[in-house]
Symmetry: C2
Subunit: 123 residues, 2 copies
Amino acid sequence: MPESAVPVNLADKLSQFSELWSQKKVAALNDYEVKLAKLKGEFVWHSHEDTDEMFLVISGRLTIQLRDGDVVLGPGELFVVPRGVEHCPVADEETAILLLEPAGTLNTGDAGGPRTRAAEMLS
Amino acid sequence: MPESAVPVNLADKLSQFSELWSQKKVAALNDYEVKLAKLKGEFVWHSHEDTDEMFLVISGRLTIQLRDGDVVLGPGELFVVPRGVEHCPVADEETAILLLEPAGTLNTGDAGGPRTRAAEMLS
């Protein structure tokens, strides 16, 4: 069996980091990346012109603010923000999410700014 | 807020069907589909020449048989079967999974046969 043929345990991966608002790559699917992140507080308003973005909440509670209303996600709930739609994630408690989008998608999208982070590989 | 701006609750969606080995579409991300399925027993050996395929176990226990060994997934564990790699899912107990792959990917891949089903939209 190839060395890579081991499952990705999301809880194990989440236990390996504590940094907030920093996406960690845990798997690749074609030219997409599966990433984990821990969030608390409010992020920045941004959009991704070229891609949809999927959020799946693992633990905690995530509010995805949209310009015309909020989407609130608990554990086991997902939402796809369509390309070009401005959004701003906010979490009152520490929240763990799985993100799915094309490789290289930046967390701040078209907004840029000081909170921009490239996703990092989690060993 | 657009009518579609509601979260997808995976447990709710899973409660809406009982059919085994029948993929239900619950979200779209660019030209990819997020699908749910319930599995029990053994499927058929097959591969997907053109795409990787992601399995995430929600409940139960899934064994993905590969020609050179098995990958066993419990809840909160995921695995990406690389394109072209023959695999055969098997579940001793009823198991719920989330699948991610390009729209139109068939469950039996290149094997075809009587167990082929197109994914259905879940309302």
